[in-house]
């Protein structure tokens, strides 16, 4: 039966004219039809009412909650900073005791980075991206809702610890041995709480990358994308390669904290330097992860201010891609004083100087655009101008600090504090506020006050410089970071007092801004639809607000359709473009091809639900309980989270649709269901697995790091993982992989029985692989030395993934049995095969390391 030449099932392709002709677009839509279509569309996209509002998953709601929450965490972290400045205002101050002070600066840094800077990017992007791309929603609304609830739970947990005097206190980069030896739950709260949030960040990155690649409006080729989308693409990619090393580091760190596996303990062969590497491989790209999306906001505002297209579009793309790459070659400049060879320092010093070039290019492109245009000085531009000034100053001290000899002197002093605040305020805080002023009418359909905005700007701008300019001097005078007080007579009193007064001015500025945000605007007259006269798609939004995002999804042929295409808005509004109707009452958006945005699919997107909340709560339990060494509740909670996620997937994804294809408008018929690389789900798996592979690569980097840094790794008399059993495990996983891929092919060719048998056998083989791997590592004692600990860590990683692989195989088997997965509708099988390709690769590497490599090195 296997050898019969099978006939593949026919799958529908897009049919009908594309691109639309002028005549097609000019054809009027009858008034009556328009009203009927609009009503149906409105009904499909209606927000839930009352308390059910909180079950919403639409990007506009989730994006708003996300932004407000991140902003709230920022204000909290700002309050911590005020306390720090209050304590340091005068010498030998006794306001805050040393331990509290440690908690304050640790939480200030951690919260600003993990609870504000990265999440606000995700929040704003979730909010804006569909608008910028003329899409109805992002491709996985429930995923972003899940990410938001994870972020909220994790953030409240981490930040709340400061109220109980239990906050982390080893600095935002948690260096061992200080952080590993630290008693109390502080370090665990940091590790587990923030890992939980990082998972949410990766979810958002997946969502946003797929959004940019697959949900652009028809005709928006890559050379027409709004620059913000380019930045989102680059930053999403960076998150995928930057966060996993930290997750791998957290994994090792928490194994040491909880089970005494000595990854960072030199007495048992460990090395604290590994943490520094893993942390900064994350930590430096992180700086650019928060900088690039903020500068992307500037890239949207500047053309509007200049009232002309951006100059140097390709140059800005170069700048985003170039900065994205180079930022990964800088991490060692945080480690100049750790005793690495001068030549190694030189490589990173060189890369740190090189990154100035793409960073500078985009600023010059903005200036050139402004010079070439007719400037209309709107309020957001004031914030951008301030941002560029401050960021440039921070960049200049950055060039100084990139030089290793200068850094040796300034390392760990207030000079660094000044530098990093100049870059982050100029590169992140001010552009984000500019973005809030600029996009506020888009988000809320109200305007912020011009007068209050100017006051807030000048207070924050002046206060910022009063606070941080003197810190350069304080640092050069030798004041170290993180001291909770200082003696008199060192010449530090006056600059510290000035800094503290400046902090109060910044706080006043934020108070004005906050008031502007929250004051009632009910009496404001209806705003103009396009108040800044911008040219990009998001300003085709509806005023007053409609939930559908876009009345009809346009065909785009230029970078600034609102400026360049006559009659464009009218066509959008009358439903003359794609998907102007929702006859089945389903939420739908358009999926297009990656490079040229040719229509591929009508994607059904999901509706309000509570399952995401349950999944987030249980997943939160799985991370939060271990903080208090409550492992049984943690496991139960983790299992419930898996169950909730499976329920969510089973009930609402990839069910065979009622028809193969549907009318998408303008004579185009598009499929409703595709599988494999055409589908958004496949891309999401691909991208997620890229991040997962990076985390695994970080673990193997750890293995080779120990081997490089230590004369005796693996120790000569060390017990190795059993060679035969490791081989058996490898064989089991290989069989699991081969059978899964074979099942996909069988199913595709309508050999359903064979496919089911393949999946069942695949699960069995994988389970056998897990068992063999456990047997292989059981004789090793992970607490005795770092070598068995690394082997165990690899085994835990591989087994956890294999277990996930089994769940996937059984899920597809069940799908096949219950009619969810058929030869025609096989997206799930494609997606799990992709997971299995990646897993097979990491299983091979792990088995090679545990078996032959460990014995040969």
């Amino acid at each position: 039966m296997i050898f019969r030449k099978p006939t593949p099932i026919r799958r529908p392709a897009p049919e009908g004219p594309y691109p639309p002709t002028r005549a097609m677009l000019d054809e009027p839509v009858p008034e009556r039809l328009r009203a009927v279509q609009a009503a149906r569309l409105r009904k499909a996209w209606e927000s839930p009412k009352g308390w059910r509002y909180w079950s919403a998953v639409n990007n506009t709601e989730v994006g708003k909650w996300y932004t407000v929450t991140a902003f709230f965490f920022m204000l909290c972290a700002g309050l911590l900073a005020l306390l720090i400045r209050l304590q340091l205002a005068v010498p030998e101050n006794e306001l805050v005791p040393a331990d509290r002070f440690n908690q304050l600066f640790t939480m200030h840094g951690s919260a600003m980075m993990f609870l504000f800077a990265v999440p606000i990017f995700e929040a704003i992007s979730i909010l804006l991206l569909p608008g910028l791309l003329g899409a109805r929603d992002i491709p996985f609304p429930r995923l972003s809702a899940f990410g938001y609830w994870c972020f909220l739970i994790g953030g409240v947990f981490v930040l709340g610890s400061v109220l109980f005097d239990a906050a982390p206190r080893a600095g935002w980069f948690m260096y061992p041995p200080l952080a590993t030896e630290d008693e109390g739950p502080g370090s665990d709260i940091w590790l587990l709480g923030l890992s939980f949030i990082e998972v949410a960040s990766i979810a958002a990155a997946v969502e946003l990358i797929v959004g940019v690649l697959k949900c652009r409006p028809p005709g928006m080729r890559v050379n027409l994308m709004p620059l913000y989308a380019w930045y989102v693409l680059v930053v999403g990619g960076m998150i995928l390669f930057a966060f996993p090393p930290l997750i791998a580091g957290d994994f090792l760190f928490e194994l040491e904290r909880s089970f005494d596996w000595p990854f960072f303990d030199p007495e048992r062969g460990g090395d604290p330097m590994l943490w520094q590497h893993l942390f900064w491989i994350f930590g430096h790209p992180e700086v650019y992860i928060v900088f690039l999306p903020s500068i992307a906001i500037a890239a949207m505002i500047v053309p509007t201010v200049a009232q002309r297209p951006i100059l140097g579009y390709s140059w800005i793309v170069l700048s985003a891609v170039g900065t994205g790459f180079l930022s990964f070659g800088l991490w060692v400049h945080h480690m100049y004083t750790t005793g690495l060879p001068a030549m190694s320092l030189g490589f990173f010093s060189a890369a740190s100087e090189a990154v100035v070039i793409p960073t500078g290019v985009q600023i010059f492109a903005f200036l050139a655009t402004l010079i070439a245009g007719r400037i209309r000085m709107i309020l957001p531009m004031l914030w951008i101008a301030g941002a560029l000034a401050i960021f440039t100053a921070g960049g200049l001290t950055g060039i100084m600090l990139a030089l290793a000899p200068f850094d040796f002197q300034a390392h760990d002093t207030y000079f660094i504090v000044a530098h990093l605040h100049y870059t982050l305020f100029g590169g992140m805080v001010l552009p984000v506020i500019a973005g809030i002023y600029y996009f506020y009418p888009f988000i809320t359909k109200k305007m912020l006050s011009e007068r209050l905005g100017r006051r807030a700007f000048w207070l924050i701008f002046i206060g910022f410089n009063i606070t941080f300019l003197p810190m350069h001097y304080t640092g050069l005078m030798g004041m170290p970071r993180r001291v909770f007080t200082y003696p008199e007579g060192l010449g530090w009193e006056i600059p510290n007092l000035i800094s503290s007064l400046g902090a109060a001015v910044i706080a006043a500025g934020f108070a004005v801004f906050l008031w502007d945000l929250i004051r009632s605007k009910g009496d404001q007259p209806q705003i103009e639809r396009n108040p800044w006269n911008a040219g990009t798609l998001e300003w085709a939004h509806d005023v007053p607000e409609e939930n559908w995002g876009m009345r009809s999804i346009p065909h785009v042929t230029t970078r600034y359709p609102l400026w360049d295409t006559p009659g464009f808005l009218d066509r959008v509004d009358t439903g003359r473009f794609y998907l102007p109707d929702a006859p089945e009452g389903r939420r739908e958006t358009l999926v297009t091809s990656v490079i040229d945005a040719e229509p591929v699919l009508v994607q059904r997107v999901n509706t309000p639900t509570w399952i995401t909340h349950l999944a987030a709560i249980f997943a939160g339990g799985a991370f939060i309980f271990p903080t208090f060494h409550l492992y049984t509740p943690a496991i139960v909670s983790g299992l419930l989270a898996v169950a909730a996620i499976l329920w969510w997937l089973w009930t609402s994804t990839a069910w065979p649709p009622e028809a193969d294809s549907k009318d998408a408008g303008l004579g185009l018929r598009l499929p409703i269901y595709v599988s494999g690389p055409d589908s958004v789900g496949w891309w999401a798996v691909w991208i997620t697995m890229l991040g997962d592979a990076t985390a695994f690569a970080s673990l193997t980097f750890g293995f080779f790091f120990y081997w490089t840094a230590q004369p005796d790794f693996p120790p000569s008399e060390a017990l190795h993982a059993g060679a035969g059993t490791v081989g058996l495990a490898c064989a089991g996983f290989a069989a699991g992989w081969a059978l899964t891929v074979a099942a996909r092919q069988m199913n595709r060719h309508a050999c359903v029985g064979m496919a089911r048998a393949g999946l069942a056998l695949a699960a069995l083989a994988t389970a056998g692989g897990i068992a063999a791997m456990i047997v292989a590592v059981r004789p090793l004692d992970p607490t005795s030395h770092v070598y068995p600990a690394v082997i165990w860590a690899l085994a835990v990683w591989i087994c956890a993934h294999a277990a996930t692989g089994i769940i996937m195989q059984l899920y597809c088997l069940a799908g096949s049995l219950f009619g969810k997965l058929t030869p025609r509708y096989d997206a799930d099988l494609w997606n799990i095969s992709l997971f299995w390709h990646f897993f097979m690769l990491s299983a091979l590497v792990a088995c090679a390391l545990m078996g032959p490599a460990a014995r040969m090195l």
Binding site: F325, L326, G329, A342, G346, F347, A354, R559, T708, A709
Partner: protein, 136 residues
């Protein structure tokens, strides 16, 4: 394609460009070369200095050789990108319009610029190899 949003370019190649699915990846080829070169330099010097697998001078000279190879590859890719951009024959620098040809040349332009920055980065990484010696 029926969309006629702009006048034909001076020497428009009147043919369809395929979707160029691989071209987004091609953009990353030269910076990836830079990255791999950096990692190679860092790892080799660590293996020479920390693990003492081979003399550092050998490592240094070998890495200078690797720099030449990396730069050669980046220049080759850069040249291909210039050809794709086609600026030398058309004189057209920017491609803000909505045709397949615009997208094709835009990707060439972007790849050219990215190759330039990758080459600069690789030269920078090579400088310590030329200026410093030993494991201090």
């Amino acid at each position: 394609m029926t969309n006629q949003e702009h006048e034909p370019l001076p020497d428009e190649e009147r043919r369809e460009f395929s979707a160029e699915t691989g071209s987004l990846w091609r953009l990353t080829l030269t910076p990836l070369t830079w990255a791999m070169h950096l990692v190679l330099c860092y790892a080799t010097i660590s293996l020479a200095c920390a693990r003492q697998l081979f003399p550092v001078e050998v490592a240094r000279l070998g890495l200078i050789g690797a720099s030449v190879l990396a730069l050669g590859f980046i220049c080759w890719q850069g040249w291909r990108a210039v050809r794709q951009w086609n600026v030398l024959t058309t004189g057209v620098l920017t491609h803000p319009n909505g045709k397949a040809e615009d997208r094709h040349r835009f990707l060439g332009h972007a790849a050219t610029l990215i190759a330039v920055i990758s080459a600069i980065g690789t030269v920078y990484t090579t400088l310590p190899l030329l200026l410093l010696e030993g494991c201090r």
